[in-house]
């Protein structure tokens, strides 16, 4: 009987999972950063809260959220597994290892950057997602929408949290500086004409997304956005 056999347990299959889930997360981040950037209207969070409500009640988004969550778990599980397997592939380490001569430090540190992101995600999800989805948002805004913005403003009064967020976004930037183009390579999309475009796009994507995200806690903490 024909089946997919060992497609996903092979080295390339594992990569495929990383790549697809990674790209999915990248797509998600676009939506996420778009909605969140609504706070920059600086209208006391009204536009943002509307966006958040749409996100919370649109069934496509809700279904996508499940996929996203499964994907994230798969990405994390597979990513960590790769880290350990790959470490085992070289039981005796080099006494002298000059990695910077041939590759970027962040390309070699995807596991570390990912783990930092994981820690951040735990904090982040329990701060916002758990609140909005399960425990409930305590207040409503002027238009009677759930005031997620207020939750945000509240959280970002804490300097520690702001620093954590900014550091996490630095990690995200580096994770994506490698990850974006890497995912395309994994999927086999390497082309003399298109790859430079992908790399350039990935570079700007990583920077812009991370900077936008990082600006949010900073702007709120410093009171630029109220």
């Amino acid at each position: 009987m024909a089946s997919f056999g060992n497609a996903f347990s092979s080295s390339i299959g594992k990569k495929l999972i990383m790549g697809i889930t990674g790209l999915f997360l990248i797509l998600f981040l676009i939506v996420h950063v778009f909605i969140n950037s609504l706070i920059f209207f600086n209208d006391g969070g009204q536009t943002f809260n509307q966006g958040a409500e749409f996100m919370a009640h649109n069934w496509i988004i809700r279904a996508g959220e499940i996929v996203l969550f499964v994907g994230l778990l798969a990405h994390i599980y597979q990513g960590l597994r790769l880290v350990f397997e790959n470490r085992a592939a070289r039981p005796v380490k080099y006494a002298a290892y000059n990695g910077s001569a041939n590759s970027k430090w962040y390309s070699r540190s995807m596991g570390l950057l990912g783990t930092l992101l994981l820690i951040f995600l735990i904090v982040h999800l329990s701060d916002f997602w758990v609140v909005s989805r399960f425990t409930g948002i305590p207040t409503e805004d002027a238009l009677g929408k759930e005031d997620l913005f207020a939750v945000m403003v509240d959280k970002f009064q804490n300097l520690g949290i702001v620093i954590l967020y900014v550091l996490a976004m630095v990690s995200l930037a580096y994770h994506l500086l490698h990850g974006f183009a890497s995912a395309f390579q994994t999927l086999g999309w390497n082309h003399k004409k298109y790859s430079p475009i992908i790399r350039a796009f990935g570079f700007w994507y990583s920077i812009i997304i991370s900077v936008l995200f990082a600006l949010m806690p900073v702007a709120i903490y410093t009171g630029i956005i109220k």
Partner: protein, 256 residues
């Protein structure tokens, strides 16, 4: 860049056999000519060790012109040393300077066990080729060589992939000890040629399976292999291998 003779300190990995514990041992070499190759510097050191009654350092080498792929030293944290696009045997001492300390280690990977000192066992590569790195054509079965014209660009691309010398520097430098560059070079060479089409997807599957079975790590696209490969084998080959693998697993109905 030195033009004068040099005095150097070497820290060389010594290990009597596969089971033994190894360690780095210091050696002084003096009056090293900048015209010497790195291996000739080792010859001089070995000559010295032999006359002193010590065991000379074992390392793999044969052609000494950068084509057989035997030489394999990890020099100051880089496979084949500091210069790009050269093998250890083509690295010359003028790339170092007087007073340098040079650390020399064997390739390190689970799939490349150390045999002795700097020599490792790379037969895993042969087994990967045996798993499918060929076109099944018995002697005498060939049609005229010009029967199938092949676009020059394609033939050149196949040639570039075929230039791999199986030195293993890609595995040695990869932080994951992955053999993807080597494996993909062969898969690509044959995938690019019309003669390679009939077995194209079978080949990708069986070679990847063998590569995995040998205990190499997984590729994370750091690009270190491409940067260190003495023959400039491109990462495009890995992408091509991935494509062929997906095709084999998700498009083709044949199972291997």
């Amino acid at each position: 860049m030195s033009t004068e003779n040099m005095n150097l300190t070497l820290k060389v990995w010594r290990q009597t056999d596969n089971k033994a514990q190894g360690n780095l041992v210091d050696y002084k070499v003096s009056d090293v000519s900048p015209d010497m190759s790195f291996l000739e510097m080792f010859d001089v050191l070995n000559e010295d060790l032999i006359t002193k009654g010590d065991d000379p350092i074992v390392f793999d080498h044969d052609c000494r012109e950068g084509i057989c792929g035997a030489c394999s030293m990890y020099i100051n944290g880089r496979p084949h040393g500091p210069k790009e696009l050269v093998t250890t045997c083509q690295l010359h001492m003028r790339s170092f300077k007087d007073g340098d300390t040079i650390v020399v280690e064997p390739w390190r990977a689970k799939a490349f066990p150390v045999i002795k000192d700097l020599a490792v066992d790379r037969t895993a590569f042969d087994r990967i080729i045996a798993a499918g790195g060929f076109i099944s054509v018995n002697t005498g079965n060939a049609q005229d060589a010009n029967a199938i014209p092949i676009p020059k660009s394609q033939s050149d691309a196949a040639f570039e992939a075929a230039a791999c010398i199986a030195c293993g520097a890609c595995v040695a430098t990869c932080k994951n000890a992955s053999a993807m560059l080597f494996t993909s070079a062969k898969i690509s060479q044959l995938a690019l040629l019309p003669q390679g089409q009939p077995e194209r997807y079978r080949r990708a599957q069986s070679m990847v399976a063998q590569m995995d079975a040998e205990g190499f790590g997984n590729c994370t696209n750091t690009g270190a292999c491409e940067a260190e490969c003495p023959k400039g084998i491109s990462l495009e080959n890995i992408a091509r291998m991935n494509r062929d693998f997906y095709h084999a697993k998700f498009v083709s109905e044949e199972e291997v």
